[in-house]
């Protein structure tokens, strides 16, 4: 049972990122555990909320900033709804970290193109902060698509990243009064963009976005190994047993969630259509 | 019920379920069999595996319809013109069974005259079915050596429900597909013991075994056994009670039923229940109805009681107590007996076996059903008149229960409500596989509720496009009686102009919307059809 037993963690702070997304800053109740806890960019935790069971949530923080962890949660179902109703001081259960992280060693010295849609920026936020804190990475470019200007999440982070030399470009599907940036899906931000080798693109967002983005990136000359994404699935155990997160002959919880396009092309991934 | 009683003399499935698997042609009408009656569907599948042919008549392209040799996707509420048309085509092709009609039936001339007067092309147009398909279906059913018709609530929950059933019976008799093994007409009963409840007289005008309360000899027999004078007048139908506004009856004891979600035009039901002087509810879980009750009796579940259930094929089967009732729960018979004693009627049975003995004594078709006989078998099928009677696999062998089968011709009747400019859609209601009735039990089950967590409104892609609607968007669904919020599911199962949803969900109580117009004979409300409009919620 120990493998399924959550560690209790206290919500120390809640940041409202947009109408649907909150970032929960958490601290394990067990001080020793909190101190020794470590994780890598791209991994996730199984989160317990009273009476709601568990759901997988990616780290939106970076282990380069120890002491607390951050999970950004979009309001989607029963568990996330209950989590959104919690106040600072409340407890949740956490077990993990799980999953294959981004290979940060391999990405060192590369120019990195991050492309995110909606809540997809949450896991990439952890990676960007990791790169900035550690240093040793090339130029960082972020393309971020939201539905509307009100839906743009992680605004504080984006401002900070800009100050630290990250080239952040934003687009919205539908503009409102006062928006003078790009309008359209996130792929429109790719036009005219040049990323020099060595390079990789890290992509995270809704399946439909990824489906359209992958061929665009290939057209720009990114090799399959240079296009890295994370897959999302319903999960229950997080440790490769329960079967829910099947992706062809892989399990997203232990063989992913990070996959590169070369790997994905070997698999039948229905939501991504025919990958060529 | 009423329909088959008039034509055949008995209102139950004529076959055993097993026989369906041996028919050469199976005609399924008004039944989403794979979702509502999987055990029947499995026989249909095995028949198909043997090479049998399947005709499905359903306004929706259900999973079973996809496997059919012929699917007649007709307009809801046009079963009579469609079936009459089939019969006319059978007559024209000389595929009817003269000998059977001559020797086993009566009143054929009236049907024949009516069929010869109708215009098949016009009827096909009314039903919105290609005439060529109808012709194929008529030939297939008409030429079948052994054919079975299965129908369900898609036939009965109409303003013309009884006439629908009689028309089905006409079709079966016309081709001689009844009274013989592996042929027949089979109403599929929904709830596991709805047949048993009907058998036991849970109908307004009959004692157990369909013995009319108006029959003096029958009444005398029951009075003798029960020691009380019994009324000769039929009681009220369910809508007379639940739509009575608290005037027709002043107190109610509702057992295992949740009218505040299941009956049409819920506003009227709520008004009635709130105006009762007294309401008691007995159920295994809290229900919407129980919330209004003055007294709630926690009832025992199937696993906590001993007795019998009667299934669709008239089979009476034992159920045995596996665990003691939990907490303060008591069995239904315990609750009734205790209540009767408090009301001054000494009702005492030492066991459910003793109750069964009383049933056998007073109910001829159950005359040979005793627990000791049922205990050691898969049950007995009524009629079973005495201890040595083996039970009855299929009804009307050699002779219809009423003597001769009676043809009762029927003409098309317009549904109680039709789409118009203001309410342009036709809304049908039904069930989903994962939930039972109002979900009092199934929505408490984790996996069942995960599989089907909310009501979905099926809408054709063409209509969705004209409303610029995507699957998953929320809608206001309105009829002349009310409005509910519901999520859209774009689906080719429904034809353009049609909508379909289920009634299991208290969050989207569809019976706020349904029409209380009901069949004048069976009093069954027209759940299947009403006119509706849609509006996207932004």
């Amino acid at each position: 049972m120990t493998m399924y037993l959550p560690q209790m963690a206290k919500i120390v702070k809640i940041i409202r990122e947009n109408p649907q997304i909150k970032t929960f800053v958490l601290e394990f109740r067990d001080k020793e555990y909190n101190k020794s806890f470590s994780y890598e960019p791209g991994q996730f935790m199984m989160v317990s909320v009273p009476h709601c069971g568990e759901a997988p949530i990616s780290f939106s923080s970076s282990s380069t900033r120890p002491g607390t962890i951050e999970l950004s949660v979009r309001l989607a179902g029963k568990l996330t709804g209950a989590m959104h109703r919690l106040q600072p001081g409340a407890m949740v259960g956490l077990r993990g970290p799980y999953g294959i992280p981004f290979n940060m060693k391999e990405l060192a010295d590369q120019n990195l193109l991050f492309v995110a849609g909606g809540i997809g920026l949450a896991p990439l936020r952890g990676v960007i902060n990791y790169c900035l804190d550690k240093g040793g990475y090339g130029r960082i470019t972020l393309l971020y698509g939201s539905r509307s200007p009100d839906d743009i999440a992680f605004k504080t982070d984006i401002d900070l990243w800009r100050k630290n030399g990250v080239d952040c470009r934003l687009s919205v599907d539908t503009a409102t009064e006062g928006w003078d940036g790009q309008v359209g899906v996130v792929t429109t931000l790719l036009s005219g963009l040049e990323i020099e080798r060595p390079r990789s693109s890290l992509v995270c967002g809704p399946p439909i976005m990824i489906r359209f983005l992958l061929p665009e990136l290939s057209r720009m000359g990114f090799r399959d190994r240079e296009i890295i994404t994370t897959m999302e699935r319903h999960m229950k155990c997080g440790i490769g047993v329960c079967g829910h997160c099947h992706l062809d002959n892989r399990l997203v919880c232990v063989d992913g969630p990070v996959f590169d396009l070369a790997q994905l092309k070997e698999l039948a991934v229905e939501e991504l259509g025919e990958l060529t | 019920m009423a329909g088959l009683a008039t034509t055949f003399g008995s209102g139950a499935m004529t076959n055993s379920i097993e026989e369906i698997g041996r028919a050469d042609v199976i005609l399924v009408i008004g039944s989403n069999t794979t979702e509502a009656h999987p055990q029947v569907a499995r026989r249909i599948f095995s028949a198909l595996d043997r090479g049998s042919r399947l005709i499905v008549i359903d306004p929706r392209r259900t999973a079973l319809a996809r496997r059919a040799d012929i699917h007649l996707q007709h307009r809801p509420g046009t079963d009579i013109p469609l079936l009459n048309c089939l019969m006319r085509l059978i007559l024209d092709d000389n595929l009817h069974d003269d000998v059977f009609i001559e020797h086993r039936t009566e009143n054929f001339n009236e049907l024949r005259d009516m069929l010869y007067r109708l215009d098949p092309t016009e009827k096909a147009a009314v039903a919105n079915v290609p005439p060529a398909q109808l012709k194929k279906a008529a030939e297939l059913y008409g030429r079948a050596n052994k054919a079975v018709i299965c129908y369900c609530l898609g036939i009965t929950q109409h303003i013309c429900g009884t006439d629908n059933v009689q028309t089905i019976a006409n079709l079966a008799m016309l081709t001689g597909n009844v009274e013989k093994e592996d042929t027949g007409v089979d109403p599929l009963r929904g709830q596991n013991n709805v047949q048993g409840a009907c058998d036991m007289g849970a109908l307004p005008g009959v004692f157990p075994g369909y013995q009319a309360v108006s029959n003096e000899a029958v009444r005398a027999e029951f009075s003798g056994a029960w020691g009380r004078d019994l009324p000769a007048e039929p009681g009220l139908t369910i809508l007379d009670m639940t739509h009575g506004g608290g005037k027709t009856v002043k107190g109610m004891f509702i057992m295992g039923e949740n009218p505040l979600l299941s009956d049409p035009t819920l506003e009227k039901v709520r008004n009635t229940l709130e105006n009762l002087e007294f309401l008691a509810v007995s159920d295994i879980f809290p229900t919407e109805t129980a919330e209004l009750a003055h007294v709630v009796f926690p009832a025992a579940s199937f696993a906590e009681k001993t007795g019998t259930f009667t299934n669709s094929e008239r089979r009476v089967q034992m159920v045995r107590r596996a665990i003691e009732p939990i907490g303060e729960c008591r069995t239904d018979s315990d609750i009734i007996c205790a209540l009767a004693r408090r009301l001054g009627y000494e009702m005492n049975y030492e066991s459910s076996a003793e109750i069964m003995e009383e049933i056998a004594l007073l109910t001829p078709v159950y005359g040979g059903m005793y627990h000791d006989r049922l205990e050691s078998s898969w049950g007995l099928q009524w009629p079973c008149f005495n201890r040595s009677h083996p039970g009855t696999v299929f009804l009307h062998k050699y002779n219809f229960a009423r003597g001769r089968g009676c043809f009762v011709p029927a003409a098309h009747q317009m549904p109680g409500e039709q789409p118009d400019e203001e309410y342009p859609f036709l809304l049908m209601t039904g069930r989903v596989y994962h939930h039972y009735h109002t979900g009092a039990m199934t929505r408490a089950g984790n996996i069942l509720n995960r599989e089907s967590p909310e009501a979905l409104l099926e809408i054709n892609p063409v209509d969705a496009e004209s409303l610029t609607l995507a699957s998953g968007e929320m809608l206001n669904l309105a009829t002349r009686r009310g409005t509910i919020k519901i999520r859209a599911l774009i689906s080719e199962q429904v034809a353009p102009g049609m909508l379909y949803t289920s009634f299991h969900f208290t969050e989207a109580p569809i019976n706020l919307l349904t029409n209380a117009a009901s069949d004048p004979k069976a009093k069954c409300p027209e759940y299947k059809i009403c006119a509706a409009q849609l509006e996207k919620i932004n």
């Binding site: 120990t2 037993l5 039948a268 | 599948f45």
Partner: protein, 349 residues
Amino acid sequence: MKGLILKKDNLVPLLRKIRKGGKLVAPVQNRHGDTLFEVIDDLDRQQLDLEHQAQSSLKPFFFPQNDPLATYNCAEDYSFEPVVSAEPTVYFGLRSCDLTAVLYMDVIFSQNGADTLYFARRKEAILISLGCNQPFAHCFCNNTGSGPFLEYGFDLQFTDLGDSFYVEADRARGEELLERWSYFFTPADEDDRKKQYQAVLEARSNFRRTVHVDPAVKRLAADPDLQPVWRELSDRCQDCGGCAYICPTCTCFTIVDQPLAETHGIRLRQWDSCTFSGFTRMAGGHNPVNHAEQAIRRRFLHKLKIDVEKHGRPSCVGCGRCVDICFGGVDMIRFIAMVNDLKLPAEEK
């Protein structure tokens, strides 16, 4: 280890002794004629049934349908308390397919760290299998390499020789048991060994079905994209999950909280099935699996392709239970026949 002989008359007396050391589980025919594995409380009243295939496998004993992982409290604080329960148990009369299934579950539940609950029960278990002289109606374990007799994996294996059982041990726990109750057994002689060998040979020729598992496995390895098959079987599937529940090697589960009151509840591990649409549906409604067309694709590919890649053999053990349970005839035997009957794309041209 040399074979031993147990006279059939001595079987019940032996089981009576064994039962004193812990629980005994064996196939029992109940008064309705159903044969199920049951905990034996009374050897005189419960009718051991070694003639019929048990309708269920041993799966529920190691991996129960509803298995409490923990109790939780959420009154003021939020905390979890683990639940573990296991006691020494001897399982008698399981068939080779069921034993193979347990060995498969051992592999599944030891991935990424041994599953505490499963192995707590498994470590307390002694498995005594009974080879099948006469395979049952839907059996095809000869085609899945899981019977009718096994060469290893059992603690003890019994072979029916008519008036006695030939008994062999493969694992230490089996040998210990034989030693502890040695006075029930006599050494097998050459004649017994011949008879046992003969029984094994005859059993192989007694199968009523031939199911071409290997060609289907090869076909799936080459081309798993069998749209017509998935479509037809998905239409026939009635979504009951019976195949997964009855299958001795289906181990997918979900984890749910069952509230007992506002302030506390139980966290359960519960059987689940990849044929359910909710199995993959994510919060918000997106489902990466097209349920209408592919409800059963995962199930068959997992058994006959993915497990072959991962573990070197299909995870179907040929017990045939899915044939009996399915309402729509969506069973392994039909699937394999459909796959083998499909024309290869090359042939179509």
